[in-house]
Symmetry: C2
Subunit: 207 residues, 2 copies
DNA sequence: GTATGTGAACTATTTCACAGCT
DNA sequence: AGCTGTGAAATAGTTCACATAC
């Protein structure tokens, strides 16, 4: 079994989104070419990505939407749910907690922590904000497996270490710093400023 | 002049962040190895990235932090400012507008638009929300060059088309859909659900 | 006939390694 | 002696193209 590129995983979610829509519309089968068309990807890319995980298609006919949907959900862990804690309940942290887009994806935001004692005890949506000192207890009691870091850059590494010490092995980091983490911990960086700045580079350097 | 990889641009912003910090701390020079250490990148990567844009280092000594800072700012268009409009003022749109991280980066959020007439006229931070019908006028009057799409998936393509018709060539897309755009338009996708879901794949598949 | 699955070819990106500058 | 800048080697990822299956 060869290594699956990171991009493949990301694209599988795109395929799943599209396939789910197709299944909902009662479209029974789809070819890699059509699926690629709808997702702005090549037919070869679609087949190669799926090929990492098995043989889901039928030669001459394409893919059965319902079968592929189920297969992808299985592969991507959609049959499970994960408990998420957000650390740092500022503008961004609050927005993430309230953002409805996550709820349908098996990701449950069940804890929010902040260092600011003025915020502790207040509610964001359904969740009561807890003190960051409670982190170890919260992580173990609420069986948190994913931590979202939404604190300023200066505090990010420390928060990451607290989360890891408490046993969290998956981090989504919104702080604009490179976190130092051991091999077994998976970090995804989302640097919104950098995304925007990349566009400003494009503007500054076009033609 | 050869093509510069996308990743290089993104990393230049990381180097700039670090170099700015170093300059602030009155550290005068730094080697590619040290800079790599601080950013979790290899020394070769640092040199190769910088090498796309010129010769900034001194053999045997490394890079002068102030010189490199200025050079990077120039390359990355930090000497210019760009006007940004946010379309869709929900949780996410509001958070982006209020998020202070952007202000210092030459990116000015100066317009917010929404289709919901109940929101029109209300304020988010300093900005008054305008109707999406006003988009062409707003883009030209306020010289908008970057559009942020923070509407639900169903409306994203339409919003993109309105922005492009008004002359906007840079889009930051938060909607979970693949936008169809012509060659001359630059789109950056930020799919927060997908980032989180990728972590759930990791959890579901780790040993 | 049509569309998959997959090695082989190609392209992009990263790492190596060292000649050459200070 | 120390560290850059950069071709060359290695690795990763995408596209091609076709034998094979239905």
């Amino acid at each position: 079994m060869k290594k699956v590129p990171e991009g493949t995983i990301s694209r599988l979610f795109i395929y799943l989104r599209e396939i789910t829509e197709l299944a909902r519309m009662n479209i029974r089968t789809i070819s890699s070419a059509e699926l690629g068309e709808r997702t702005n990807l090549s037919d070869a890319q679609v087949r190669k990505d799926l090929g990492y995980f098995g043989h889901f298609g039928v030669s001459g006919a394409g893919y059965d939407t319902n079968e592929l949907k189920q297969a992808l959900e299985k592969i991507l862990g959609k049959d499970k749910t994960w408990n998420v804690a957000v650390v740092g309940v500022g503008q961004l942290g609050s927005a993430l907690i309230s953002y409805s887009g996550f709820k349908k994806h098996g990701l449950q935001f069940i804890a929010a922590l902040d260092a600011d004692t003025k915020k502790v005890g207040k509610k964001v949506g359904e969740i009561t904000i807890e003190s960051i000192g409670e982190l170890p207890k919260v992580v173990s009691n609420k069986k948190i497996t994913i931590g979202i870091i939404a604190v300023p850059a200066e505090g990010a590494q420390e928060v990451a270490e607290k989360l890891m010490a408490a046993g969290v092995e998956c981090l989504l980091n919104f702080a604009p710093v490179s976190l130092n983490v051991p091999e077994n911990v998976k970090v995804k960086d989302v640097d919104l400023s950098r995304e925007l700045e990349t566009l400003s580079y494009f503007l500054a350097n076009k033609k």
